[in-house]
Every structure is written in structure tokens, then in C-alpha cells.
């Protein structure tokens, strides 16, 4: 073996261990760091005995059970609604031109950070938002914004809607990535030949298989939604707020003894997330039984034209609201005078951008550095991990759950502990630390994005190259990676987008000393200055979007004369 081959073999053999450590160590340490203070032990704050004081403080908090209920309700509803919209869209439209068009419209929305999508929703639907401006003069005669509580409605309905806007693109792309494995096009034709309507045929014959493939992403969506902070800070109820939101409040409370309550709350959040998963498992059962029962009746539901139109239009609305929201972010960032109830601003100006620029550059640099470093490190590790899996020919069943752990364990529950550990140790808050905390969340998404194309690679190309006498090093770089350039760049763009949009790790591990455009944007929510919010949230969307654009442009430039590389 030459030196390159050896380096490659050693690195790929080490990759699984490194990744396992990188993901489990911070989660376990973080959970411990949350659990111990939750039971009263935190010498720096004067807690040197184990007790239930933290939990008592937690239970004494007003409206705590309402917060728990809101977290469960919004999380479950957002997940169920997103999933239903995705199923309806694929069922009603799968294989049609409209659907292909819709997919092209929705896929880039994956790049939109949660906070930006939430702000877009806010600018569209709030009482003084675009829609109310649009209808106010002609229909309602509103001269002042109506007194409706959107956002921050007590039931968290705007929070649910904001989450749905963001999770539908994610789940749709996950489902589309899995459709090859369930032979969707063939199954659809077969089922149609039995006389089933498109929608019913899909739900009865294909959805159960497809759902099984996207179950992990669905759990990730559920866990995220139950414990979400950034979207809740922008759209969520306030009196009381969801559990995740309140935790952050206690964590930042000037009264340091509230840290005990916060830690107890974080433990509580894990339990609430578990409960939500148990409820979801129950819903899965019921849904499965309903579908199963329907299968036996033989009813075909062949006339489903109306239902299909409805199914497609829901996903269409999600795309529309997202895009309109983003357009409004851009518009507000450049708006001159824009009084209610004018539908459009009186003029366009770069004043807001010029004014924001001096404060913007620091957070922007932090965002970019963190995103680039965490994504590149993740990519290297994921490629080595996949290379290793290909060499040993073993399926990574256990590994897959491990990779999903950071997405399913509520972020707050272990990030709190990590923050306390960092504060309590001599480690200083620095960029490497922030990069490390982002890695935990970026790596799973990079893996998610790259693993299917990587496994789908025709290994005969490599066999041929070996037969031609080329070294492992050559085969890896000149055949595998060169041919996988497109998916690799897409995975980079996905990782970059995740890092740019990450809120909680940034705000907790950065401890306020390393602001990014995302933490700044969310912090602006309470101020309500739409122009500044527009600048930050639009920029937050623009960066990942440019990355996706670059990722798709590079292969088509590089392989301009290689037709087979461009689809």
C-alpha cells in the first residue's frame, strides 16, 4: 500500500469512533450537567446537597402545566399537520407535472432558517401585516391594525403554522428521497390498475411503506417542535409561553437560583418530549388501524378529483406563504415610509441596510466562520464514515440512531448542562467551542443528505478502476468523489444552512458573547422594528440560498461538456 492508501484506510477506520464520541460525549455530558443541578447540586451556586428544590420551584411557577400542555399540543399538531400535508401532496400529485413543479418550488425552502420563516409568517399574517393591509381599505375599512392576537395567540396556533411552514419542505424532501426505495412509480401504476383512486391508492398501498422510511426524520421534527425556542420566541404564546421558551427565560434570569428551576425544567422537557413520542406512537397505531381497516373493504374512492386538488393546494399554500414571507422580509429591509394601511411602502431605500451594517459585520463573520468550519469538518467525517461502511459492507443500524440522537433528544435538555459545564470549567467561550456545538447538529444533516446518494453509487465504477490498476487513493478521489461532486456540494450547502439557522446552541454555548445573525435576529423579535428584522432575517435566508446556488452551479460549470453528470 502506498502512503495515500494507508492514510485513507486509517482515517476511515477512525471515523466511526470519532463520530460516536463527537455525538454521544456532549449529549451525555450535557444531560449529566442538566440532571445534577436539577437535583440541587451545583456548588458554584451554593447547592452542595442533593434535593428536590429545583423541581419544587418549577412546580410553583405559575401556569407550568399550561406550558407543558402548549408544548405537547403545538409540537404534536405541527408534526401531524406537516406530515398530513406531505402525504396529501405526494398522494394527490405524485408523478404529475404540477407536483414536479411544486417540488422544485419547495426544495429551496429547505435553506430558509426557522427564524426567517417565522418572521416571514409574522410579516404576512400579523394584524398590521401584509394581508390585513391588502384587504383593509377595500373590504374592511380598517384604518388601524385589527385587535387580533396573531402572533402569540394563547393556543399557539400561529406557532403551529410557523412550524408547519418550515417542516413541510423538510419532510417532503425526506419522503421524496425515500421514494426510490419503495418503487413509487411502479406501485402507483399497479394500484391504479386495480381501480383505486390516486389518493386512496397512495394512502393504502404506498404511504405505509414510505412512512416507515421517514420515521426517524418525523421523530426529529416532533422532538424539535415540542421543544422549539426560536420560532416560539417569535410566534409562540406568551402567557404562559411554551416550556422550551420558559426554560430559556429561567436560564437567563438575573436571580441565579432560578438555574436550579431551569435545570429541573430541562429534565422535565425530556419527559415531555418522551410523552409526545409515546402519544405519537399511539397515533401511528390508530392511523395504521384505520388504513388497515379500509384496505379490507375494497372501496376504491375513484372519484377523488376534489380531494386531490385540496391536497395539492395545501402544499401549494405552504410554498406560497413561505415565498411571500421571504419577499416581505426583503421588502421591509428596503422599505421607506410604510404606514398602515398602505399595501406597499412609499419608497425603496437602503437606509436600513446602511444603518445595520456596522453592527452586522461581527455577527456575520461569526456566522460564516462557524458555518464553514462546522460544515467542512462534518463533511470530512461523514465521507469517511460512509467510505468505512462501504468497505466493511456492514449496515449502520445502531449508527443511524446515534446520528439521529442530537435531533431527537431535545436540544435544550443537554445544551443547558453543557453551558453549565462550560461556565463551571476553565474553558473559555470561543469560536472553536461554538463550532464544536454546531457540529453536533450539522453532522447528522450532512449525513442525512449524503448517505442515500453515496449508497446509491454504482460500485462497478470502482471495481473497474481497481481492475485498471489504480490505487485506493486514486479510486477514492478521481472516481468516487469526482463522480459524487454534486451530492457532496449539496450536503455542504445543507450543513451550511443548518449551521446558519441554529439558534439555541449558539445562544447557550456562545453565552451571549458570540452573537450570530440568527441570535441577533431572534433577539430583535421583541423590539418589533420590522426594517431591522427584515435586514437580519433576509440576510439569514440569503446566505444559505447563495450556498445552494453555488452548489448547483459548480457541477454544471465543471461538467459543462459531460451530459451524464448533469442529471
Amino acid at each position: 500500500m502506498n502512503s495515500g492508501d494507508k492514510a485513507l484506510a486509517t482515517a476511515s477506520a477512525a471515523a466511526p469512533v470519532i463520530v460516536a464520541l463527537l455525538l454521544t460525549a456532549p449529549i451525555l455530558a450535557g444531560l449529566a450537567g442538566t440532571l445534577i443541578p436539577a437535583f440541587g447540586y451545583f456548588p458554584a451556586l451554593g447547592g452542595d446537597t442533593f434535593n428536590l428544590g429545583g423541581f419544587r420551584m418549577l412546580m410553583a411557577e405559575p401556569g407550568i402545566w399550561m406550558s407543558v400542555f402548549l408544548s405537547l399540543f403545538t409540537g404534536l399538531a405541527a408534526t401531524a399537520l406537516s406530515l398530513a400535508i406531505v402525504a396529501a401532496a405526494i398522494g394527490a400529485g405524485g408523478g404529475t407535472r404540477t407536483f414536479a413543479w411544486l417540488t422544485r418550488l419547495i426544495s429551496p425552502l429547505l435553506a430558509v432558517p426557522h427564524a426567517a420563516a417565522a418572521f416571514g409568517f409574522l410579516f404576512l399574517f400579523s394584524p398590521s401585516g401584509f394581508l390585513s393591509r391588502l384587504i383593509s381599505l377595500e373590504l374592511t375599512g380598517w384604518q388601524r391594525p385589527p385587535d387580533i392576537l396573531i402572533p402569540n395567540d394563547a393556543w399557539g396556533l400561529s406557532l403551529i403554522a410557523g412550524l408547519v411552514l418550515k417542516e413541510v419542505p423538510f419532510l417532503l424532501l425526506m419522503a421524496l428521497a425515500a421514494r426510490g426505495q419503495v418503487k413509487m412509480a411502479e406501485s402507483r401504476q399497479l394500484i391504479a390498475s386495480f381501480g383505486y383512486g390516486r389518493l386512496a391508492g397512495f394512502l393504502l398501498g404506498i404511504w405505509p411503506l414510505l412512512y416507515r422510511r421517514i420515521r426517524l426524520p418525523v421523530f426529529a421534527v416532533l422532538a424539535f417542535s415540542v421543544s422549539v425556542v426560536d420560532v416560539a420566541a417569535i410566534l409562540g404564546p406568551t402567557n404562559p409561553a411554551t416550556l422550551g421558551m420558559r426554560l430559556v427565560g429561567w436560564m437567563n434570569d438575573p436571580d441565579l437560583s432560578m438555574r436550579f428551576a431551569a435545570s429541573a425544567g430541562a429534565v422535565f422537557l425530556v419527559i415531555v418530549t418522551l410523552v409526545s413520542i409515546i402519544v405519537w406512537l399511539g397515533l401511528e397505531r390508530i392511523g395504521g388501524m384505520c388504513l388497515h381497516g379500509q384496505c379490507g373493504t375494497g372501496r376504491r374512492f375513484a372519484r377523488d378529483g376534489l380531494a386531490r386538488k385540496l391536497g395539492l393546494s395545501l402544499a401549494g399554500l405552504v410554498a406560497l406563504f413561505n415565498l411571500a414571507g421571504l419577499a416581505l422580509l426583503a421588502l421591509w429591509s428596503a422599505a421607506g415610509l410604510w404606514q398602515f394601511p398602505d399595501a406597499v411602502p412609499s419608497g425603496i431605500t437602503l437606509k436600513s441596510w446602511m444603518a445595520a451594517l456596522p453592527q452586522l459585520s461581527g455577527p456575520l463573520a461569526t456566522s460564516l466562520a462557524t458555518a464553514i468550519l462546522s460544515t467542512v469538518i462534518s463533511l470530512v467525517l461523514v465521507v469517511l464514515l460512509l467510505q468505512r461502511a462501504g468497505d466493511t459492507g456492514r449496515e449502520m443500524k445502531a449508527g443511524q440512531w446515534l446520528l439521529y440522537a442530537p435531533l431527537i433528544v431535545p436540544q435544550a435538555s443537554f445544551l443547558f448542562g453543557l453551558q453549565l459545564l462550560v461556565l463551571g470549567s476553565s474553558i473559555s467561550v470561543s469560536l472553536p467551542l461554538l463550532v464544536f456545538s454546531h457540529l453536533i447538529f450539522v453532522l447528522p444533516y450532512v449525513f442525512l443528505s449524503l448517505s442515500d446518494p453515496w449508497r446509491g453509487f454504482d460500485t462497478r465504477f470502482e471495481h473497474i478502476a481497481f481492475g485498471l490498476g489504480r490505487s485506493r487513493w486514486d479510486v477514492f478521489w478521481k472516481v468516487r468523489l469526482a463522480m459524487m461532486l454534486g451530492p457532496v456540494l449539496t450536503a455542504l450547502a445543507v450543513g451550511f444552512a443548518v449551521s446558519i439557522g441554529l439558534y439555541l446552541p449558539t445562544v447557550l454555548i456562545g453565552a451571549g458573547r458570540l452573537p450570530t445573525i440568527t441570535t441577533e435576529a431572534v433577539a430583535l423579535a421583541s423590539g418589533g422594528n420590522r426594517r431591522v428584522i427584515g435586514v437580519y432575517a433576509f440576510l439569514q435566508t440569503l446566505l444559505p440560498f447563495m450556498m445552494f446556488l453555488t452548489a448547483s452551479a459548480i457541477p454544471s460549470l465543471l461538467f459543462a461538456n459531460r451530459r451524464a453528470m448533469r442529471h
Binding site: M1, T392, G393, D458, T459, R460, F461, E462, H463, I464, A465, F466, G467, L468, G469, R470, S471, R472, V475, K478, V479, A482, M483, L485, F559, N561, R562, R563, A564, M565
Partner: protein, 211 residues
């Protein structure tokens, strides 16, 4: 030691069940044809010789070519050239790039390497195709480039995994002739895996039926 390719007590098993057991000596320029239904493990024999047998199989025995024990070597040092059903030209390289990738690094000089590849293309009736996109070639042209590519790498043996099965009738005859002729001129031992009896007849060598 004997010339050509020797399969010495080669056996492949899957989950304790032996799929095939072979003892054979393929002379230089001769063809050993392996026939059997799909799933009988005939392609896994080629994978074993090439060095990329899926780890779910267990293999035993030795494969020797030109006095070298291939089964002791890593895949890249075996020089067991392979042709699959599909031409599998590297889609990110030009036609000439595919050939240059196969040419040994010991063949020095940029201009000399290009000249060598251009010559190989002329040899298969594709002179002037060096800078073309492989995807712009016809099926027959791709198959010929794949053949030129594997021959340029100066293999010790040629492994043929149903390489003619996707070509239409007319092309199939031509391609067979071309492959067998070129390999015979170079004195390459060949193993042909197929389920088409006319392939076996055209090969004209020993036939081994498995499964």
C-alpha cells in the same frame, strides 16, 4: 508454474451453502465460459478474482495468473481487467480521459500518453474521439471504448461479465469478435460469464455449468 490463469480449488459459499467450486486452467488467449441461471453465483466468481467479493460470501482457494497469486494481492495490484454489461465509461472524464486513466503511470510524458490513447482510439475505429463526452457516444462506440480502456491497462486476464447481453443482435456479433480477437492477439486468458448459449459457442472454449 503454468502460464495463463489458474483457479485452484476455488469455492464460494453463501451462508454455509456452496454456490460453486471450480478447478480450472485457462490458457493464454483461451476462454473459460461459465454458464448458469441468475443467482447461481457466477458473477461472484469474477468478483472473487477481481478482489471485490461482497463480504457476505465466504471464499476459499487460490487464483494464479502469470505465476502471481492474485488472491494474495489487493485489487489494484491484481490487474484483472473487467468488462460489465454496461460500458461504465467514467462520465466525468472525456473519452480520452477514460483511456489515460487506464494507462500505467510508468508510461511517461504528456504528449506520448495522449498519442498512445489516440492510437488506441484509431485502433477501434474511433480516431478523433479523444475530447468527446462519453455520453454522446452510441452504445456500440461506448462498448468499444470500454474494451480499449481495459486493454490499455495491460491486464493479466480479462473478466467478462455478460458484456454482450445489452447489445442488439448485429452489434453483439461484432463486439464478440472484437473482444476475443484483441484478447487472443495479446495472449490474455479470459473468463466469460453468460447465460446466452451463442456467447459460449462463439467463445469456443471450455464450458462450465453451475447452479
Amino acid at each position: 508454474m503454468a502460464d495463463g490463469l489458474v483457479l485452484e480449488n476455488v469455492a464460494i459459499a453463501l451462508g454455509g451453502k456452496t454456490l460453486l467450486a471450480v478447478n480450472a486452467h485457462v490458457q493464454k488467449g483461451a476462454v473459460l465460459t461459465i454458464m448458469g441461471p441468475s443467482g447461481s453465483g457466477k458473477s461472484s466468481l469474477l468478483a472473487l478474482i477481481g478482489g471485490f467479493l461482497d463480504p457476505v460470501f465466504t471464499a476459499s482457494g487460490r487464483v494464479i495468473a502469470d505465476g502471481k497469486v492474485l488472491t494474495d494481492l489487493p485489487p489494484q495490484d491484481r490487474h484483472a481487467g473487467i468488462l460489465f454489461q454496461d460500458p461504465l465509461l467514467f462520465p466525468h472524464m472525456s473519452v480520452g480521459g477514460n483511456l489515460a486513466f487506464a494507462l500505467s503511470a510508468e508510461f511517461k510524458g504528456r504528449a506520448a500518453r495522449r498519442e498512445r490513447c489516440e492510437f488506441a482510439l484509431e485502433n477501434i475505429g474511433l480516431g478523433g474521439f479523444y475530447d468527446r463526452d462519453p455520453d454522446s457516444l452510441s452504445g456500440g462506440q461506448k462498448a468499444r471504448v470500454a474494451l480499449a480502456r481495459v486493454l490499455l491497462s495491460e491486464p493479466r486476464a480479462l473478466l467478462l461479465d455478460e458484456p454482450f447481453s445489452k447489445l442488439d443482435m448485429e452489434l453483439r456479433g461484432q463486439m464478440r469478435e472484437l473482444v476475443f480477437d484483441k484478447a487472443k492477439v495479446r495472449g490474455l486468458p479470459m473468463i466469460l460469464v453468460t447465460h446466452d448459449p451463442s456467447d459460449a459457442a462463439a467463445a469456443g472454449g471450455e464450458i462450465l455449468r453451475i447452479g
